[in-house]
Symmetry: C2
Subunit: 340 residues, 2 copies
DNA sequence: TTGTAAGCGTTATCAA
DNA sequence: TTGATAACGCTTACAA
């Protein structure tokens, strides 16, 4: 059996409560007693039991990370490691650890979130996605449980602390970039339509098209998963319409990469035949051939800031604002060319 | 205050212990009682408290992941997301969650591991690296705490369950591959010399060189961090010796990628001026220009199998073998050319 | 088949 | 400044 606070108390000739106070470095304990108790802890190799502590304390020093379903495929997209890097950096700065489960279905995810929350397993949650109609949000709000969202909540935006890019604007900028190069037949490749980020970017794209007097065509808009495969599927669809687009706004680098590869296989060239601008600016964007012009959304910062907000919530400090917008910027590389 | 087992007991008109048994689905409780209790749980929205449970139980249903120091930079290498993907898949299959802390220094890591272990925060540990002289291993062995290593332990190999590639052989294969292409001046770029994997691969490289009667030159061997930057540094050193190598065995794709880029900047071409074969076969290897010939080590499987072994340990099932070797294979792409 | 009661290892409250 | 003692919410002998 492990050594407990009682063993230490016995050895140090004090009460268990005193030991507890020494652990907490309470100012109401004499330096002398502290020394003695600490010596006893040292001698016995004492370490506080985490669960007993959390139970008495109602605090866990850990935050939960909720990923979109199928953690299995999610890690294939470099977005997630990078956002976790931001999260873990901030968490670590505050002595917090990270807990994550991966579920294959949304049902599994919901179940595991309920367990985390109701079971008191974590002090707060960061949601790495925002899906339209997600009932997790209602649940968390109802429970009054601290959480932040990376992305824009599909409702209750004033009530939910979230960190996001201005995706509408970013997509509009990206589209305008293509338009400025002289493109008129511009397509859009997004992720699932149930993701808020997809909607925002789609809207930004649409706005740019309309403002420039270009026609918005339904068959120029395709939705796929944020994976290389998704890109390949998307481009097949797009190239099969009459008068295929000459420019593409793609919501994810990995998808764009898939598109470039598929195009190359078809004997078409980027940017000579088709220009592509994508989102995220992960390493792949640099490595792609040609390197991709991509909208940098500062993924690390997204994660870091979300945790910052979460800590405020946990400490019940009212946040300055419920929404933090992380700036984006277009990184120009070689996947876009002017129309002749 | 949250709803507890007592509230449920009261509503269902049974003792708390009965409720507990229903949760555990004990066969010694009548179906009728189970129904009543479950209805009560439902009605009150009861969820068991995780910490109380773990405390009474001494089981946490979570496994800890230990990464090499500075989790901050570690996620930049795609090795880690991929290995975590394997880990999380297997963990999820068994209803386990993942806990991870990131430390900036080895001291911080050690401290947080001690806390996890002594504090009973996790049921077992997976170490994602193996460093020579790592005292974590002695600690864990001493505590008799379940853990597995991805890589080869630097000592006690018969006692520690670990999952590894045959890195000696893999490096020998890689070197032989270059030799078969006619290269004679072959360099080696590895990670930190304190990593066991580096040593194994270096030894394999050396063996191949000697067996083929080629000279092993100290100035052909360089060690750097497993990052793009590391690669750039390495190649600077290597190109400054007299008679620089014409072929390179590089222990990591990301490094190799850095090398290729640096070489390109110097006006040299891969594979025409220098052939490169690297390790890991992550996405970057495909994307690099030229695509890299790389030794696939099945990272996912490494993670998956390590957790499998860990569960055996936790359940005290003696494992078939303490060492599992995951097969490697060379994926040929376009970064190697024959010497003329 | 179910109830009683003693832990599990802390923290927090109230006295002293 | 310290000590008793009652929570915290659950599991598990031991009884019944």
């Amino acid at each position: 059996m492990a050594v407990t606070i009682k063993d230490v108390a016995k050895l140090a000739n004090v009460a268990p409560s005193t030991v507890s106070r020494v652990i907490a470095d309470s100012p109401r304990i004499s330096e002398r007693t502290k020394r003695i108790v600490r010596a006893a802890m040292e001698e016995l190799g004492y370490h506080p039991n985490y669960h007993a502590r959390s139970l008495a304390n109602r605090s866990t020093q850990t935050i939960g990370i909720i990923m979109p379903s199928s953690g299995n495929t999610v890690f294939q997209n470099p977005f997630f490691p990078e956002v976790i890097r931001g999260i873990s950096t901030k968490a670590h700065e505050n002595g917090y650890g990270l807990y994550m489960t991966t579920g294959t279905t949304q049902g599994e995810i919901n179940e595991s979130v309920r367990n985390m929350v109701k079971g008191g397993r974590v002090d707060g949650l960061v949601l790495l996605y925002s899906r339209i109609g997600d009932d997790l949000i209602d649940f968390l709000l109802e429970e009054d449980f601290p959480f932040t969202i990376i992305g824009k909540p599909y409702k209750y935006q004033e009530r939910i602390v979230h960190v996001d890019n201005d995706n509408f604007r970013a997509a509009k900028d990206a589209t305008d970039y293509l338009i400025a190069l002289g493109h008129e037949r511009i397509g859009f490749v997004g992720g699932g339509l149930d993701l808020v980020v997809t909607m925002d970017r789609l809207l930004g794209y649409e706005k740019a098209m309309r403002l420039s007097g270009l026609t918005y065509r339904n068959d120029y808009v395709v939705h796929q998963e944020f994976l290389e495969e998704g890109g390949k599927e998307a481009i097949k669809t797009l190239m099969s319409v009459d008068e295929p687009p000459t420019g593409l706004v793609v919501a994810d680098d990995l998808m764009a990469f898939g598109i470039v590869n598929a195009l190359t296989e078809m004997g078409l060239s980027v940017p000579n035949d088709i220009s592509i601008i994508s989102f995220n600016n992960v390493l792949i964007a640099q490595l792609s051939n040609p390197p991709l012009t991509s909208v940098d959304i500062d993924i690390f910062q997204l994660g870091y800031t979300a945790v910052d907000g979460l800590f405020r919530l946990i400490k019940k400090e009212p946040p300055a604002s419920n929404r933090v917008t992380v700036p984006h910027k277009i990184i120009e590389r070689q996947s876009c060319a002017p129309m002749l």
